[in-house]
């Protein structure tokens, strides 16, 4: 079984810039372990000192918050897309060369 995990830009410096990774874990705790095995540097940013996923990190499965699907007990399905999103996420990319233009034209 394969699922796809999308890494937010804030964490891509720990994934060698990789934006999406394919994983085979069945549950969220296993998935975090799988990601950390491949990219060990990500661990201390995803989890707090007690090993819990940080309070301000939200995990979505196919656009649904995983907490509504059972959280840690949710069993992934083939083809699930998992999103890792800081709770007040977004922005913060460096300004592109040529200034901050309207990306939509």
């Amino acid at each position: 079984m394969k699922i796809t995990v999308e890494i937010p830009s804030a964490l891509r410096r720990f994934t060698d810039g990789v934006q999406t990774i394919e994983c085979t874990s069945e549950t969220l705790p296993d998935l975090l372990g799988e990601i950390e095995q491949r990219f060990p540097a990500i661990s201390k940013h995803l989890r707090d000192d007690s090993g819990q996923v940080r309070r301000f990190v939200n995990i979505y499965v196919n656009e649904e918050d995983i907490r509504f699907l059972g959280g840690n007990s949710y069993k992934f399905h083939e083809g699930d897309r998992v999103l890792v999103v800081p709770s007040i996420a977004g922005g913060a990319p460096a300004a592109p060369a040529g200034g901050l233009e309207n990306a939509c034209g």
Binding site: P8, S9, A10, R13, H45, L46, D48, R54, R55, F56, V57, N58, Y60, E63, D65, R67, F68, L83, V85, P86, S87, I88, A89, G90, G91, A92, P93, A95, P96, G99, L100, E101, N102, A103, C104
Partner: protein, 416 residues
């Protein structure tokens, strides 16, 4: 002169200077604007403030604005009114209403946060501003973007009230209706903000945006004659406002503008979307997200960005939180209108209903000074209450017809 503020991670404390960024790369926690209060102390005085304009820019020294920034939109400084008739109904003599139902220009407290957010958008060079919104923020961003010359892209849940939809489109904003609830809109905007170089007021500009809410607190203190109330009742959606009023009071105490006082903070939610009040009442450290189902659409955020901090602020203050059902929200709107002549939207019905409940339950001492924050205008949520009223048939414009009409009405009332 160096700037007296910058971003700081609320959890790990890392400093980030000033940039369009809402969270810490190290621990993914939210950033907040912090100030060098010692540097601000000489200018943030009662005298200077009272000599300033009668809008929120009188507090510019404690807002994250570019140096010499002059806001062109005279927002804020809404009335603080003593609510004698409502207070009498609820059994308290010291009830005040902070009436942001008449905030300029779009009749909600969101005009305040957009004012500071657009200052940041200008500073960071954005040409497009954007937001995810339950309606009031959409109106505020659209209106102020028009006046300030930004393009605006606004993202809303598709089922918003018609007045809030039209009240966004009229300003020329591009409106994107999403088939989902606010939490889904917000998550999408987080993803869009990563790809588009836009100033999302409540995403990448969020720390600067949130500071605008402090002006509610400054105004309450100033309008009470530079003193703090005993209790604040505040509606909660994302949970930011209640934490920022608390921050404002703490700053005023630290700078010596008011006497120190431990103000109790009370949070108000709709039962159909009450993750924060639920966490307070069940004494949870972290709230549990909910799927919103309430007529109070402006408060329908099931995964509130500042829910953790709002819960903590309430608990630390010695306050409490409550929630009211949809019928109680409607009754709250009517009660406020009939006793004080203030027509508020559903969120204000929540605040009024919860204030009543907290007094009845004894959480609020009726002899203390309480300020309830009315954050939006009833003309935007007419649908929520229009079914409560019926229209009588039109009558001919003749005195005798009216006399018959009034006699019938009086008889009907007497018959009841």
């Amino acid at each position: 002169m160096a700037e007296h503020y910058q971003l700081k991670c609320r959890e790990c404390g890392k400093l980030w200077g000033n940039q369009a960024r809402s969270f810490c790369d190290e621990c993914l926690s939210p950033l907040e604007v912090v100030y060098d209060l010692d540097a601000i102390r000489p200018v943030f005085t009662r005298k200077n403030i009272e000599a300033g304009p009668t809008n929120l820019w009188r507090y510019s020294a404690l807002l994250p604005l570019p140096e010499d920034y002059i806001g062109s939109i005279p927002t804020g400084f809404t009335p603080l009114v003593q609510a004698r008739r409502l207070g009498k109904q609820l059994g308290t003599t010291n009830l005040y209403l902070k009436n942001d139902a008449v905030c300029f220009p779009t009749l909600s407290f969101k005009d305040r946060v957009v004012a500071t957010a657009l200052a940041a958008a200008r500073r960071f060079g954005f040409k497009v501003v954007s937001c995810s919104s339950t309606g009031n923020l959409a109106n505020a961003v659209a209106a102020q973007a028009a006046r300030e010359g930004f393009d605006a892209w606004i993202f809303i849940p598709a089922d918003l009230e018609a007045a809030k939809v039209t009240g966004t489109q009229v300003f020329g904003a591009k409106l994107v209706r999403i088939a989902g609830n606010y939490d889904q809109v917000n998550r999408l905007c987080s993803q869009i903000a990563e790809k588009f170089q836009w100033g999302f007021v409540n995403v990448n500009l969020r720390p600067y945006y949130a500071e605008g809410s402090k002006t509610v607190g400054y105004e309450i203190a100033e309008q009470l004659g530079w003193r703090l109330p005993d209790n604040i009742v505040c509606p909660m959606a994302g949970g930011s406002l209640i934490t920022k009023i608390k921050k404002a009071f703490n700053e005023l105490i630290a700078l010596g503008l008011v006497e120190e006082k431990k103000v109790k903070f009370f949070g108000a939610q709709a039962t159909g979307c009450s993750p924060i009040s639920d966490a307070v009442k069940r004494k949870l450290e972290q709230f549990e997200p909910q799927k919103p189902a309430t007529i109070a659409r402006s408060l329908a955020i099931g995964n509130p960005a500042d829910g953790f901090y709002a819960t903590r602020a309430i608990r630390e203050s010695g306050g409490w939180a409550e929630d009211v059902s949809d019928p109680q929200i409607v009754k709250g709107i009517q009660l406020l209108a009939e006793t004080e002549g203030i027509f508020t939207e559903t969120a204000g019905g929540v605040t009024t209903g919860v204030t009543q409940k907290l007094l009845e339950q004894g959480y609020i001492n009726p002899s203390e000074t309480t300020v309830a924050c009315i954050t939006g205008n009833g003309l935007k949520t007419i649908d929520a209450i229009s079914a409560e009223y019926t229209l009588t048939p039109a009558i001919e414009p003749r005195l005798t017809v009216f006399e018959n009409f009034i006699n019938d009405r009086m008889a009907a009332v007497a018959g009841n």
